[in-house]
């Protein structure tokens, strides 16, 4: 009997919400106003299992204390459920591809490229990254589900909502637990489908239906990138598994992110990024993965769907479009860290995309008047922050991104739920100019929203301060490597392309990575750093602009709210309070103990040499903290000058922006540009196609269909119903045959 493994418990995390969703679907109509019970029970149980798993995984990570701490060992557990697909000898990879690295198949040292099988096991993995993500997903999911009891009550689609939320939690847990790129792709699509269904939850509303369609179509672009990336990965590595497997012949089959590829048999870490595709193919894979991440995480240029997605119910926005699903892109890149580490050019692109998105979204956010839209742009901006951090390719960058992901999940879910509470009390009105001074009407919502805003703005000691500080530190270290005493990084950024070539001894090609490697220069990183710092100031400004407009000034309540504008019920305020407490303490707890960063560093992907070598001692960067706090303070002060205590429908600061105001208010004209260059041509083409289909193809089919009818019309006149005529026709027929035969026999 095998020893009990936490990996077995892992199956329960996706399974329980799935059971909840199925039960809700089956019993939804009968449960009526208690339709939330199966879903909430399933998610709550999954959350408990996830916490147990987190503790179990943390026990396996070797401690880092002491001066002679050994390198962190990778921690990973695999639970293979069944084989989804299995073909022998599907593909013979090229001799020089990483799939046939002879070091990785010790029993066939001189083996010619052998035909590899195509096997897709349904395997779940448990490692620090997965455990962290599972806890975030299930805990935020649970709080949002509880909140929804209050928010969604007496909605006709009540059971449907909870079935979808539980389904989403299932899909998302599978996405982060899958140990195979194909399974990741499957659940990547599944969360997209759940997102589509929840955005279009009120499908009778045309804007909601349109927003759902837009989200789905924009996501297709990213999904397409992921599909191509998966194809390329299989061509390059001959497998899609993350983990190593042992073939029936006893040969170790290295997975893409398996420990064989990361650490050699003797336990020594392989030099550099050996065994990972670099060059053109590697860079192409990374850029396609980045495209996929951009679609799901709403990064430039695929960010346009997220603001529109706010048409969905607010709890769904909080869960899917703020805390969890949109972080799938971050997860994907962290998981693929060794692939990116082999392609410095792709890494720079990640940072450039991220920092640009962060800045652009923050600028747009400053002039939005819809409370939920402000938060949507803020989410895009914060996700851009995480991307900027990931692009540094250092241990600090990766752990900081996940750290920010965690704190962001807390405070952004809090802010969204707070906005939902405002919307609930205001009778569905969410335009900030139509209400004001709500702190007197909704004290709990106002207080928790303020806590969330402080965390988002990065004010010490709230959660966002610490995670943002880490991200700035990661960028700073990349921009001014010498100042950080990081000579390795200094060399890598200074020599640029040379270093890129040395990173890929087993790459399919040692090309220049599509010419992107030349972007990996300190000046670029310095620019990205300053962009991030400006974004921090803008974040503080738009956040507090929203706070001041909504909660201060003379109390005004829109007519839609009627006379019963009120604080929300306990089912809604309790999750708010829990999240507010988390937003306050989680940053300090995790930063001061450095627990999360150390825990995450045991993720197999992050033990890859190219990443692990960049690990730096945990430190608090006073200079950066001062800069970040200063930026936040400026933002808050400007917001206070413009909006504190003012009527929210009065003149705004944006009147000083001049022509820029129009640019920001129109969201940099992204939608208009896409309409002009993509939507219109496709619509025109669709009209032509529809014309051809309706009149040419259908016309031809109809014409052929009319032939038998016409012929039949001629013959049917003979159908007189008179027996004698039928008999005569028979006799004539026989006579004709006889005459014909006689004619033939004559000759």
């Amino acid at each position: 009997m095998q020893e009990f493994s936490p990996a077995m418990l892992l199956v329960l995390v996706p399974l329980l919400p799935l059971v909840g969703a199925v039960l809700t679907v089956l019993l939804g109509g009968r449960l009526a106003s208690r339709a939330h019970l199966p879903a909430i029970a399933g998610i709550a149980a999954a959350a408990m299992v996830a916490i147990v798993l987190l503790v179990a995984t943390a026990r396996d990570v070797n401690p880092s204390h002491g001066a002679h701490a050994e390198p962190v060992r990778p921690v990973e557990m695999i639970a293979t459920l069944w084989n989804w697909a299995s073909f022998d000898q599907a593909y013979a990879p090229p001799a020089d591809s990483p799939a046939t690295d002879p070091r990785l198949t010790p029993q066939n040292p001189q083996a010619a490229p052998q035909a590899l099988g195509f096997t897709i096991p349904v395997a779940l993995r448990l490692d620090p990254l997965t455990a962290t993500m599972l806890v975030i997903i299930t805990c935020v999911g649970l709080l949002v589900a509880i909140y929804s009891i209050g928010y969604m009550h007496d909605d006709p689609g009540y059971p449907r909502f909870f079935a979808l939320v539980a389904m989403f939690v299932f899909s998302m847990s599978m996405l982060v637990a899958a140990s195979n790129f194909l399974l990741v792709y499957v659940f990547w699509e599944a969360v997209g489908a759940c997102s589509y269904l929840l955005i279009g939850f009120w499908f009778a509303k045309p804007q909601a239906a349109r927003a759902a369609k837009k989200a789905f179509l924009v996501n297709r672009v990213g999904d397409f990138g992921l599909a191509i990336a998966v194809f390329l990965l299989w061509m390059s590595y001959g497998t899609l598994d993350f983990h190593d497997t042992i073939s029936p012949q006893g040969v170790i089959m290295p997975g893409i992110l398996g420990q064989t590829r990361l650490v050699d048999a003797a336990g020594y870490v392989l030099p550099d990024a050996a065994g990972f595709a670099g060059g053109t193919i590697g860079t192409a894979i990374c850029l396609l993965l980045l495209l996929a991440a951009c679609g799901k995480s709403a990064q430039l240029p695929l960010h346009v769907w997220l603001p529109d997605a706010m048409e969905g119910p607010t709890p769904a926005s909080a869960l899917i479009h703020a805390a969890t699903m949109v972080t799938a892109g971050i997860y994907l890149i962290v998981r693929s860290a060794p692939l990116f580490a082999a392609c410095p050019g792709a890494l720079v692109m990640v940072s450039i995309v991220g920092a640009t998105t962060a800045l652009v979204a923050a600028l747009i956010g400053t002039v939005q008047n819809d409370l939920k839209r402000v938060l949507a742009y803020s989410t895009i901006s914060q996700l851009g922050y995480m991307f900027a951090s990931l692009g540094t390719g250092t241990m600090l960058g990766f752990t900081a991104a996940i750290f920010h992901l965690l704190t962001h999940a807390c405070f952004k879910a809090l802010l969204f739920l707070g906005a939902g509470s405002v919307m609930h009390g205001m009778g569905g009105v969410i335009d900030m100019r139509r209400f004001g001074g709500l702190r007197r009407v909704m004290p709990i919502t106002a207080t928790t929203f303020l806590v969330g805003s402080l965390a988002l703005a990065g004010v010490a000691p709230f959660a966002g301060f610490f995670s943002k500080d880490e991200i700035l530190a990661a960028l700073h270290a990349k921009a001014w490597p010498i100042a950080h005493g990081d000579h390795h990084a200094a060399l890598s950024t200074a020599t640029g392309t040379l270093h890129a070539a040395s990173f890929t001894p087993h790459g399919l090609e040692t090309g220049s990575g599509l010419g992107l490697d030349s972007l990996n220069r300190p000046e670029i990183w310095q620019l990205l750093f300053w962009m991030s710092l400006v974004t921090a100031g803008l974040t503080a400004f738009y956040t507090f602009r929203a706070v001041f407009m909504t909660f201060t000034g003379p109390t005004r309540i829109p007519e839609a709210a009627g006379h019963h504008a009120h604080e929300s019920p306990p089912a809604m305020t309790i999750p708010l309070v829990i999240l507010a407490v988390a937003s306050t303490v989680v940053g300090w707890l995790l930063f001061s103990t450095n627990w999360l960063a150390h825990f995450l560093s045991a993720t197999p992907s992050l033990t890859a040499t190219a990443v692990a070598a960049t690990a730096t001692p945990h430190a608090f960067h006073m200079d950066l903290a001062i800069k970040g706090t200063l930026a936040a303070a400026i933002g808050v002060v400007v917001a206070a000058i413009g909006h504190l205590g003012q009527r929210s429908d009065g003149p705004q600061l944006e009147r000083f922006l001049g022509p820029l105001q129009a640019l920001f208010a129109h969201k940099f004209f992204f939608d208009q540009i896409y309409t002009a260059i993509i939507v219109r041509p496709i619509e025109a083409f669709a009209m032509v196609a529809a014309f051809i289909d309706r009149f040419i193809i259908d016309g031809a089919v109809d014409a052929i269909g009319r032939i038998p009818a016409t012929l039949g019309g001629i013959v049917r006149r003979g159908q007189s119903g008179l027996l004698q005529r039928y008999a005569l026709a028979g006799v004539m027929g026989v006579l004709a045959i006889v005459v014909l035969l006689a004619w033939q026999l004559r000759g």
Partner: protein, 150 residues
């Protein structure tokens, strides 16, 4: 070669068969009384049977005659079934006229009607009489004994 296998014998028999067949064919095409049409069809069958027997004799092969026995058997069964249909048709309409059954024609065609009705026999029908034995069954004066003549 005996007389039965001579060519003139065959010719004569085939001629009889052909005449029978043609008479039956004309009967089928010309008559509208269902029973007469049925009799005519039987006549065509017998014409064929005669030629089968003739060929069988001519070749000295019994197969043809065996086939004729089968034909007779099947014709007997068929007669029973066909007469049931005719009786049922008569019970529906009270007529044995095949032209009464035109409902299977195309919907947009007009019904074929007779421009000149067949002359109706005005003489009272004569029924076969039974030899007087036992009691005469009671008769109802109101029930018509014979329906419209075809």
């Amino acid at each position: 070669m005996n007389a039965a296998q001579s060519l003139p014998m065959l010719q004569n028999a085939l001629t009889v068969g052909a005449i029978l067949f043609s008479l039956g064919l004309v009967g089928i095409l010309a008559r509208r009384n269902l029973i007469v049409m049925f009799l005519a069809a039987e006549m065509m069958l017998q014409g064929i049977s005669v030629s089968l027997v003739a060929w069988s004799r001519y070749h000295g092969d019994w197969g043809g005659q065996v086939l004729v026995i089968f034909v007779l058997t099947v014709a007997a069964c068929e007669a029973a079934v066909a007469l049931v249909f005719v009786l049922q048709a008569f019970a529906r309409t009270g007529r044995l006229d095949a032209a009464a059954w035109q409902s299977l024609r195309e919907a947009n065609l007009v019904r074929t009607v007779d421009h000149e009705l067949p002359s109706i026999d005005t003489l009272p029908p004569r029924y076969p009489t039974l030899a007087p034995a036992g009691v005469l069954p009671p008769t109802d004066e109101n029930e018509p004994l014979q329906r419209e003549h075809v």
